[in-house]
Symmetry: C2
Subunit: 199 residues, 2 copies
């Protein structure tokens, strides 16, 4: 499991016909394409409009999908954005343990969505959502991050991991708020790790 882009199960539809009909809950090929188009459209949409102006409907329109269909797979724009983040994260190749592995892992995570700030800010906001579907995804992301951090360094204790996680989330949030630029994140995170004597 862990990192492959094949089996890293992205979100299941929250109510396609999966529970009413007798079909399985894993999306069909056709459904997977629709979902992928919606995810792509989300990124495009956020490149042009702030998260506040994005809606399921606007994304669906861009993806060439009927609103009702989009609502079948995603219950909120927050879920859409979090799903995009999760897909990027699970596609990110896992670095093998070395003396730079920790730094690479930190940077990789922080820079996942750094290419456009609007998407990044949307992720910061969306991942805090109360939506149960979002909660599932963000717990998944949290577990995967911790797993990768632990794998990247043999000398990280529990406190060290927690401290690094604080720094990462803090960095993402501050970048989302505009208090930091994404360019500085790598060196900033590196210096935090250095301060902690962990690298």
């Amino acid at each position: 499991m862990s990192s492959s882009l094949i089996d890293s199960t992205p979100t299941r539809p929250h109510s396609p016909s999966a529970e009413t009909s007798h079909t399985t809950s894993v999306p069909s090929v056709r459904q997977a394409k629709t979902i992928q188009r919606l995810c792509d459209a989300t990124v495009e949409e956020l490149a042009e409009h702030p998260f506040e102006d994005m809606s399921i409907r606007s994304v669906a329109r861009r993806a060439g999908v009927a609103p009702a269909t989009a609502y079948t797979y995603f219950s909120s724009r927050e879920q859409l954005v979090t799903e995009v983040f999760w897909r990027r994260f699970s596609m990110l190749p896992e670095v093998e343990s070395s003396n730079q592995a920790l730094a690479s892992t930190l940077d990789g995570f922080a820079l996942l969505v750094a290419d456009d700030p609007s998407l990044a800010r949307a992720c910061s906001m969306a991942m805090l959502s109360h939506d149960p579907a979002v909660k599932t995804l963000r717990d998944q992301i949290g577990r995967e991050l911790r797993r990768r951090l632990m794998g990247a360094s043999t000398e990280l204790d529990s406190n060290g991991v927690r401290a690094l996680e604080l720094a990462i989330y803090g960095a993402l949030v501050q970048a989302g708020m505009g208090h930091l630029s994404y360019r500085e994140l790598p060196s900033l995170l590196a210096s935090v790790a250095a301060l902690m004597g962990q690298i």
Copy 2:
């Protein structure tokens, strides 16, 4: 200036009649009371309902204020929540420099809204908003936090402050996401500061 609850100018109304009429932009006594009632109602509302279910209208209803009036002072629920956070922060007494000042400052900030998790999560979300009024407030909060951190420790360099800020925001966000409990924040932040050899 700095910390007094009197002159720590909370948000001005975004369009009362301030710019069309010849009156000053600082709220009258009557307006201040209305605004305060709205802030109080926000806290009460969030104690019972999640941020997603809170609206300007629901807060106004609870405060005994007409929706149109509430909309006069706050353009979004995000602004309401951020204003509450800012008011608490500016009311928090500033600790005088000592060897525990840094820890007190960190804890004070992290625990500002820790009494009810719903308010805390709301703050995490609200402060990321695109709303210009929110941006003004969060920049204000960021500046004030940095000022207090620098004042609390004489040996903090620029990197140290940044690292601590990362940890604080990260802690608040993770607590907002439910990955951490608010009770652990003080000891966790203390251990981060310790790891950095700053305390």
